[in-house]
């Protein structure tokens, strides 16, 4: 009875985002048959989407062992899964929803055995406590529970003589709303980030919306295709932010719009924008939150640069666009709000261009502005400078106010 009911529920899936799979995974987010969970503890299937770095395998194993029984791993991608059976993998071009449903049904009926622990079930560091309660330290002080160092600052705080403690932990690489692959060692004071250090860089983004732009390199491409890809890319970015401020339904709506744009349907973004504004999105993104300096904005380029007030857009120099009276849109404040408004503006402008010139073609090799940050390699990496001083929820908002290409450029890149 329980099995029969459970089999009809949306499949609880936790997504470990590997390389290349981000846009495809967003497709799962809007499927009502799939429940993409925020934590592995709530999932029955661990979906590994794309290739995972060798150095991230240990993180993946830890993630896997956090799934409650019955559990299974599902591989989605081309490189992986040669040694796993058919039921637990899908090629990157396939839609895995049906396979996931079947796997889930078999999992809860017992036809598919639950996976065992990959790691030994023991503390990562042995107990080294001493004292009355194993607290390790002297008197009332904490100590070294489980062999971990007491995270105390080296000197008393000169502000008032109190030695307040900090808390250091690693975050990533498979955290939701976190750049895929990025591992940061974050030091917290309460829920304010005091410092952050990059342990592992982000995966280089490879976007489904990149296709028409790659296409353009060697073939004449329709303007409509280029601009639709731009709108879709921005809508997906918008969806992430909407979800973070507690508007999951609007976020899904943005996802659905993105999918419809890609499927060449005619859509309007204004209703979504209006609904988001009515929900108090402005209040949720405080003015000045995530403001970046001019140099960083210029280094990153793309919509981030235009949100900082620089009307630099390769489309201004293209005859197809100039015939349509194209002028780049821009904001001035260069903060989270400005970047969100820039995405909305550019997506709306892109769709307006599509409807103004549905048949226009762009010659191959033409230099067309990509929807993401695209400039030459940055001088220094700034993601760790962006976060200190931010409260945790604000930090996530700031991170997600950049497109994945921009984020990738703010942390040292891994070797290709």
């Amino acid at each position: 009875m329980l099995e029969r009911l459970a089999a009809r529920a949306p499949v609880p899936v936790f997504v470990a985002m590997g390389r290349d799979r981000a846009p495809a995974v967003e497709r799962l987010l809007r499927n009502a048959d799939i429940d993409v969970t925020a934590t592995p503890r709530h999932a029955s299937i661990l979906l590994v989407a794309g290739r995972v770095r060798d150095s991230d395998q240990a993180y993946l194993d830890r993630l896997h062992d956090q799934l409650p029984h019955p559990r299974a791993t599902f591989w989605w991608g081309d490189e992986q899964g040669d040694d796993v059976d058919e039921a637990r993998r899908a090629a990157s071009s396939d839609d895995p929803v049906v396979a996931l449903r079947v796997l889930y049904r078999n999992l809860i009926s017992g036809a598919h055995a639950s996976e065992t622990h990959r790691l030994a079930d023991e503390p990562p560091a042995p107990w080294r406590g001493k004292g009355d309660h194993g607290q390790g330290g002297e008197g009332m002080m904490g100590g070294v529970p489980y062999g971990r160092m007491m995270p105390m600052p080296p000197t008393p705080d000169i502000r008032d003589g109190l030695t307040l403690d900090v808390y250091t932990t690693q975050i990533g690489p498979f955290m939701p709303y976190w750049p895929a692959g990025l591992v940061l060692e974050v030091t917290f004071q309460g829920d304010v980030i005091q410092s952050a250090e990059v342990v592992n860089p982000t995966y280089p983004p490879r976007d489904v919306d990149r296709v028409p732009f790659d296409h353009l390199l060697h073939e004449t491409t329709a303007l409509a295709q280029i601009e639709r890809a731009r709108a879709a890319h921005h809508l997906v970015c918008i969806a992430r932010l909407l979800s973070l401020v507690g508007l999951p339904t609007l976020s899904r709506r943005a996802q659905i719009l993105a999918a419809r744009v890609r499927a060449n349907e005619t859509i309007a973004i204004a209703p979504l924008r209006k609904a988001a504004a009515r929900s108090g999105l402005k209040a949720a993104l405080a003015p000045g939150l995530g403001r970046i300096d001019d140099r960083l904005a210029r280094e990153l380029g793309g919509p981030v640069q235009r949100a900082a007030g620089h009307a630099i857009d390769h489309r201004s120099d293209n005859p197809t666009y100039t015939r349509l009276d194209f002028t780049p849109v821009m904001q001035t404040q260069s903060d989270c709000r400005a970047r969100l408004a820039q995405w909305f503006d550019e997506a709306e402008q892109a769709l307006a261009l599509v409807s103004a010139a549905p048949d226009a073609m762009i010659d191959h090799g033409a230099l067309i502005e990509a929807p993401w940050a695209h400039r030459a390699p940055p001088i220094d990496y700034r993601v760790t400078e962006l976060l200190p001083g931010l409260e945790w929820s604000e930090a996530l908002l700031v991170l997600n106010s950049f497109d994945s290409a921009a984020l990738c450029r703010m942390a040292p890149l891994e070797a290709p």
Partner: protein, 201 residues
Amino acid sequence: MSVVDDMAFWIFALTAIVSGWRVFCTDSMVRASFLLLASFIAVGLIMLLLGAPYLGIATIFMMGVEMMVMALFMVMYMMNPAGLNPMVMVHQHRFSIGAGIAAFVGLAAVMLVTDFADNPVASDARVVTDLGKELLGDSMLIFETAGVTLLATMVASVILSSRSGRFGPADEGSVPPPLEPGGQPAGRLPEEGGGHGHHHH
């Protein structure tokens, strides 16, 4: 008193004593606070049994908030990240043992020598109304004066002690602390109308 009432009394009394004792045996500030809360809740329920509903439930209500705030402040000002590390909850052993014995003997003596009134209140007496009349009637001046004085003392002592506190001079408005000693204030600055204090230059 019915058998059920008797049983409830003994269960609550035992809970109050055992959880009160465990406060000193646990190894965590948070656990200690909430064990104390459990003890107070048991006492509040006994007051309910005694036919003092307002006092009993108000005890539970007030202690819930109080212990929560206390746990929070203890963790905040104790050098123990988030109250997660185990630690010893007792110190000054010799003095506290002495004080404990003295208090126990004193209270027990009071209990034994006092001639407690045996004057049951009628079951239909409007105890809550009477209590309200007492608190806000004849004794109102005393209670209100004491209450307002206490509140004023607390506010004043906070203001005085935080004049040069972690959050900057008290008379210049609250400023979040910097992340490093002597650094720029981190986090949100209220007077900027929600602007953010962390900028790159």
